[in-house]
Each structure stands twice: as C-alpha cells, then as structure tokens.
Amino acid sequence: MAFDKMELRDIEVWDGNFAAAQAMRQAQIDVVAAYPITPSTPIVEGYAKFLADGYVEGEFVMVESEHAAMSGCIGAAAAGGRVATATSSQGFALMVETLYQSSGMRLPIVLNVVNRALAAPLNVNGDHSDMYLGRDSGWIQLDAYSPQEAYDLNFIAFKVSEDHDVRLPCMVHQDGFMTSHTAQGVKTFTDDVAYGFVGEYKPMNDMLDLDHPVTHGVQTEEDWHFEHKARQHNDLMTKVMPKIQEVFDAFEELSGRKYNIVEKYDMDDADVAVVCMGTSVETAREVAKEMRADGIKAGVVGIRVLRPYPFAEIIEALKDIKAIAALDRSSPNGAPGMLFNELAGALFNTDSKAALSGYVYGLGGRDLTKAHLVDLYKELQANADAGKVLTPLQQFIGVRGPKLAYL
C-alpha cells in the first residue's frame, strides 16, 4: 500500500488522545467521518494529519454534525471499510440516534468517546454522563483508565468488533482531560506488529460486493423487529465476552499487558471495596494500599467492560466483600446510580451479605481526591463492622453546601 511507516520509540510520551490517534493510524482505518468536539478533537485531528502526511491510506470525511459523522461511518462500514471516529458529550448525545442504527445494523465501528459532562450548564470537563448515555445502545463499551490503555484498547476494540461472530460496534472510553490531555509514557508497537494484531479487515455483507447486492437498514414492524433485537441481545450476552477474553489473552501474549473484563486490585483478602471507572480507579488503588497501613483491608474493582455488563465477573469479584461502594460519576437524576443499581442487581440473588452503598462524585470534572477516598474507605469499614449500611444509601462526594444524602 502507498503509505509511509512511522518510526516510534519503544516508549513515547503521549496523552490519551494522541495514543488513540496513533492506534487508528496503525490499524489503517479506511474511513473517518468526524465532527470534532472538545476534549476528543485531537484524536480525529491526529488521524487527519497522519492522512495528510501520507502515513495512512484512507478517507477523512468532514461532516456537518456528530449525527452526520456517525451516519457517514455507518455508510462506510456498510460499504465494507474499517471505520472509526471520536466524540464527546454533546456530540455523543447528538449521535445517539445513529448509535442504535449502527449496532442494530451490526456494523463494526470503533468510537473513541472522551468522556465529558452533559450540559446544562455547559461544561467541557470529564465525567461519565456521556458514557452512561450510551449504555443501552447495543454497543460494546470498553473503559481505558490511562493513555496506555486508550492505545491498547483501540486495537482490542477493532479485533473484537470486526469478528464475524460479533459484528457489533465498540466504544473505547477515556476520561476527558485527565486521560485525554495528560501525557504519560506509552509503550508502543511497531506499525507492522500493530497491524498484524488487528489484521486485515474482513468484509461481511458489504455493499461494494456488487455480485451480492444487499439492502442495509431495512424497516421491520411488529412482525420482525423483536426477533432482530433479540438476536442482537443474544449475541451481546453470549458471544462478546468470550471473544473479548480471547482477544485480551492474545493481546497479553503479544505485549505482556494483561487486561481483565473486571479489574481487581488488592481484592484477594479485601473486606471493603470501591467499584469505579476511569481515572478514579488509579486514585482508589493508591488509597487502598495506604488504607492497609491503617488496618483496613481495602480493595478496588475497576469496570473494564461496561457493556456487555460483566454480571458473572462482578459477582465473582465481590463475593467475599463485606462492604462495597459503587461510585457513579454521572448524575442519576432521580434514581440510585447506575453502578449501584447494577451491582445490586448482580449481587441480589447471591449469598453475598455485603453492605452496598452508592456515591455520586466528580460531576463536571470535579476532582475525586485521596482525602475523599480515605473517608469513604473508613465509612465502608464501619459498614463492614456493623454488617449493614450505616449511612444513607446515596451520598454525594465533593459538592459544596449542606451534605447531600438520600435513600
């Protein structure tokens, strides 16, 4: 192919955005249709520059909205190309209609979502509102906690998503600014190794196969719609997790970097555990280690695969824990948090006697500090000692004004 290869050092200093852009270059994306939005802008900007500089053979389609961006990706994926784009927040929200289209059409698109708060009030900083908004859309959702993981999970996303037994689009999430704009050391692959891992794109039912014409995006009513949705749900429930595990294993063999569907840190002998996502996982890991000096056996569970929901893996990770905190970085707006609900749903029919409490934190990029987590672990230890939740079931961390607690 007519493009140049790029020489990379073994370890480059990249932020999460550039790491994702480099992964998109190395995977040799055929089509990127994008409408850039903060904080994900440098991802598609990076791809566009690689394309202009002759480092990738593909098409960059500039469109008039995020709705059009995902629509362009859907068309290109149906035509039979390797397709990716990136977005955040308001752009993600505008994309939602087409997210359901792409997953229902079983098109393997990779969407880098740099997590950012949803207006109003307008805010460009990181929280998980957009990630939560996508969770019923039929996509696979992987969460990166660092630039290295944003790089790695992009390759993994293509390999899972494009598998012919899967054929479902995949989001790779990273925290806005905390990951996307924070430069760290990233261990790289050479272009050949990276492309070798992702592999050549294998089309399926592509519109450019002119001898086998297909109609994509058909209409079905009450006679067929339910069967299509049931099929998609079945494949998400039964086919995706084994494929993700298989690709995680292959990736570990290649790189030595091990990913798990649910990440467990200091959980082997833990009494109390925090369950969270994104950059908070690293902060919680550090605090958990420090809590052990105070005699609190603290652990951390990070959700690596948010969809399909790791029901069995969550039960396994939390089975011996006495007190659990579910940390939701998105306003539940009139309900317990998503993680609280989904942990409760997983544990309810098990033998777990864990005291489960929920916390809402970090909205609009508000920091979750180590001091917050120290207090939280102490509350959890008190819950564990009492054998029940001593606080209200839902509390807010780090918001000004009188203490907010419900339920």
Binding site: G104, M105, R106, L107, R167, N205, D211, H212, P213, V214, T215, H216, G217, V218, T220, D223, F226, E227, H228, A230, R231, Q232, N234, D235
Partner: protein
Amino acid sequence: MENNGWNEFEIGAMLRSFDGAATNIATTHTEDRNYSNSNSFTASVADWRIEKPLFNKDYCIDCQFCWIYCPDMSIISRDKKMIGVDMDHCKGCGICVEVCPTNPKSLLMYAEQQDEDVALAEWPEKETKEK
C-alpha cells in the same frame, strides 16, 4: 417471507436482493432474475390499489410513454412492444392513463372489481372533433 425465529436469519437489518450471485442483471428480464424472497419484487402490493388501469392493445401505438412515466416499473414492455401491466406492483396512480396519447386511450382506469372482458367490449369510441 417465512416467519423465522430470532436465530434463523442473517444478522443485521440487512436483506439480500437475490439468491446467490447476481450477474448481468441489467440484461436480464425481471421474470428471469433470481430475486430472493426478501426482494420487494416477490411481494404483492396489489391491495394498495383502489382503481386499476386496463390495457386495450387494439389502440396502442407502442410509444412507450406509459413505460417511461410509470413510477413503479409496472408497465411490462418487451422489444418496445407494450404487453400489459404488472398488477402485483401497480398501485393505481393513473399516470400511465394520463400520458397515453392515443384516441381513444389504450389505458383507462376502472374500479378494482371491474371485469376486464366487459371493459374491453365497452371500450369508448374514438372522439371526433366537433366542427
């Protein structure tokens, strides 16, 4: 189409136009094409129609206006000879009748239940200009 279960069809909101490979489609007449069951060609939409066009070949001059103007490709023509109307796909819009230039017209709209032989027997006479 068969009402298959959720596990009995190809994934995606996707339908195939043909069974197997489709080659030289442009030079193959519709009735000879290997259309699949999910192709709209195999579905009848005749019940969308309230009025139907009837064709009287005695007056037709094979000008092909109806064939050109039909929005549903429901005029069947072979070697520039008008043969009839594809009544599985005609929706009774009446455009073919409107554009028919003969006198009397070779296509006329009738109620759906109209008997064809009776209509042909009672076809209107040529209109003469009044002097």
